[in-house]
Symmetry: C2
Subunit: 351 residues, 2 copies
C-alpha cells in the first residue's frame, strides 16, 4: 500500500469532481486494501506498507498482481467541478454521498452523476459517508426476505453498524428480527436499542435460546456475516427444530429454510451437518446482484429512503476518525482491521 | 424389522388393490428400513431384525419411536380388485406401476388410482417397478436446470442406475452432462453408454479434468448424491475456475453457480471453502417439492414420457432379485445396503 499524488481526472459531460470529506472503512474496503493478507504480518517499507500473502490469499489475488487499485468504495464530500450536462451542473456545490466502487480514499474523486446521492445542504460529510453499502444492504435483506416469501429474519454479528441499522429498520417495518451476537455486552447494546430477540452464541444455552427465538418470530431466512464454522448449520437446525410438529417425516420439514452468507469474518470453511431435511439452501448474498434483481426503480426508492433517514434509521457510529496516512501506520492498520466487525473507522482525507 | 401378516384394506371408491410383482430398494427405502442405523450392527432376534441406532440417528428418529411403518415406496403389479368409481374400474386387471410412498414390500397394497401408472398389457412388473423415483428424478434435474436458466449439468455418483438414466436422457435432450464417478470401471461403463464428459474423482488430475469438462460444457448447476465431504465445494470452485476470465474481480464471477444435494451417501458434514465468490448456492433437492413446483400438468407429461420409454431411456438394471424375507437375513441386508449406490436390488414378494 502506498499513497500517491495523481492528477484529478477532468470530468466528462455526465461526471463531477468531489472533494472527499469522509469515507468509511467497510469489510469490502479491507478486501481491497489487504487482499486477504494478515495485517499482523504488515511491515513498513519507506513510503509503503508491505504484507506477504498467505498461499490461499496469493492464489485468490493472482489476477491482481501488477494492477494497482485505488481503495474506498463510498463516502461523501462536496462537488467542486462538473461536466457540461444538465445533470452534472445541477450538482455544483452540493454535498453528495458517493458510491464510487474505489478511489474514495483520496482528496478528490471523479465520478458519474449516477454515483451521487445529493444530501441536504450543510450536511456534514461524516454524516453522509455511509449512505450506500450498509443502508442498502439492510434494506436489501428486508426486500429479499419479502421477495422470497419469508416473514422474519435471523442476523449474525448483529451488533455491527449494519446490525444496529437492520434492527432499527426491522422495528420500523414491523419485521421480527432474531439478532445473534457473540458477547453479553453486544446483547445489552442491542436490547438497549429495542431489539426483542437477542441471542448470545457464547452462552451455553445458545441453541435452546435460538430455537425459542425462531419459534417466537417464525424466522425461516438468515443473513450471516461470519461464513466460517458451524453457525450457519446451527441456524438451519434450530429453524428445523422450531418447525418440528412432533410428526415423523422422512425428509424433515417441507418449509424452506434459507441462510445467505454476505460476509467472511471467519475465513474457515462453512461446515453443514445437513440435519435439517432437504428443504434448505445456503448461498452467497451481495448487494450489487440484489440491486440488479429488484431493478433501477426499486433501487432509486431505496436510495431516496436512505437520504431521508440518514440521521435516524441509517445513522452510522464510528470508532474513530483517521487521516489517509493512517493505513501506512502499521499499528493503526492492525487496529482498523480488527475493528471492522464492530464500529468502523472513518477516513477523513484532509484531517 | 419384521414381516407381519395384515389384512388387505378394502379399496375405497377411487382405490385399487394391486398384487405386487416387484419393488426396487432405493436409498429412500433404506432410510425407512434402517432409520440411519448401521446395518453392520444388525442382529437377528427370532422373527425380527434389530439394529441399535447411533446417537445422531436416534435423535433424528425420535418421532418414529413406537410408530410402525410399512416400507417400499414404489413398484409394479396387477390390479386384482377395484373401488366403484369409473377411474378405479378402468384399471381392473391392468398391470400398473405404483408410487405408494410405503407398503410396496408386501404381497398386496391398496392405493389411490392417482398413484397408478398403467403399463402396456403383458409388461413384466420387474420392468415397470422403477417407473417413478429414478425416472422422475432424472427428468426433474433437467427441468430444474432449464427453470433456473442453466444449460448443462454436473452429476455425482454418476454410474448409479439414476446416473445411467440421466446420461441417456441428457443425450436424448442434447443437454451436456459432466458425469463424476469414483472408480475407473464406472468411467468406462458410462463412456460405453455414450457419455462424453466423464471425470474420475479418484484420479490425481480430478480438479483439472473437472475444470476442463465444465469449461467444455458450460455447466453451472450440479446435482450431488453424496452430500458429505468437500466434493460440493470442489464442484463450485471448478465452476468458478472455468468461468474465470483473467480479470480480477473482488467478489468472483457474477455467474450464479448452483449445486443441489439430493442424496446422502456420505453422512459426514458438507464442507464449503467458499473460494468461489458470492454468486453460489447449495441446497437440498427432493422430488416431491419439485413436482409441486412444476404443477400437476407438467408432472403428468413427465409420467407419460416415463411410461413410453420404460424399456429405453428409463430402463433399470438390478443387481439381484430377492424375496421379502431377505431383509430378515442379516448378511443379505448388509449386502443390499452396500449395493444401494450402484445397481440396486429388486424385491419380488412372491419369489
Amino acid at each position: 500500500m502506498t499513497i500517491e499524488a495523481i492528477d484529478v481526472r477532468p470530468p466528462g459531460p455526465d461526471e463531477v469532481v468531489v472533494a472527499v470529506g469522509a469515507a468509511p472503512i467497510n469489510p469490502s474496503d479491507l478486501r481491497i486494501l489487504l487482499a486477504g493478507a494478515d495485517p499482523e504480518r504488515a511491515v513498513r517499507d519507506g513510503d509503503s506498507v508491505r504484507i506477504a500473502l498467505g498461499r490461499g490469499a496469493a492464489a485468490a489475488a493472482a489476477t491482481r498482481v501488477g494492477r494497482p487499485m485505488t481503495a474506498g468504495n463510498e463516502g461523501a464530500g462536496v462537488v467542486v467541478a462538473t461536466g457540461d450536462s444538465e445533470a452534472a451542473r445541477a450538482l455544483a456545490g452540493r454535498t453528495v454521498a458517493v458510491f464510487a466502487g474505489g478511489g474514495m480514499y483520496g482528496t478528490h474523486v471523479t465520478v458519474h452523476v449516477a454515483a451521487c446521492l445529493p444530501l441536504p445542504d450543510g450536511t456534514d460529510p461524516r454524516v453522509g459517508a455511509s449512505a450506500f453499502v450498509n443502508p442498502l444492504t439492510a434494506l436489501g435483506m428486508v426486500d429479499t426476505m419479502r421477495l422470497e416469501g419469508h416473514t422474519a429474519i435471523v442476523h449474525t454479528a448483529a451488533a455491527s453498524n449494519l446490525g444496529q441499522m437492520l434492527n432499527r429498520l426491522c422495528i420500523a417495518e414491523g419485521v421480527p428480527l432474531v439478532a445473534i451476537v457473540r458477547r453479553p455486552e453486544h446483547a445489552a447494546l442491542l436490547r438497549g436499542q429495542g431489539a426483542a430477540h437477542v441471542v448470545d452464541s457464547s452462552s451455553p444455552a445458545f441453541a435452546d435460546d435460538l430455537i425459542a427465538a425462531i419459534r417466537a418470530t417464525g424466522a425461516t431466512i438468515g443473513f450471516d456475516a461470519i461464513g466460517g464454522g458451524t453457525l450457519v448449520s446451527t441456524i438451519l437446525s434450530c429453524m428445523e427444530a422450531a418447525l418440528a410438529t412432533g410428526e415423523f417425516t422422512t425428509y424433515g420439514s417441507s418449509t424452506h429454510k434459507q441462510v445467505y452468507i454476505y460476509g467472511g469474518l471467519d475465513r474457515s470453511p462453512t461446515v453443514l451437518d445437513r440435519s435439517y431435511g432437504l428443504a434448505w439452501s445456503v448461498g452467497g448474498w451481495l448487494l450489487t446482484p440484489f440491486l440488479g434483481r429488484v431493478g433501477p426503480a426499486r433501487a432509486a426508492e431505496l436510495q431516496a429512503r436512505v437520504a431521508a433517514e440518514l440521521t435516524t434509521t441509517f445513522a452510522s457510529d464510528y470508532g474513530d476518525v483517521i487521516g489517509l496516512d493512517a493505513v501506512l501506520d502499521v499499528e493503526q492498520l492492525r487496529r482498523i482491521a480488527r475493528m471492522s466487525t464492530g464500529a468502523k473507522s472513518l477516513v477523513a482525507p484532509t484531517s
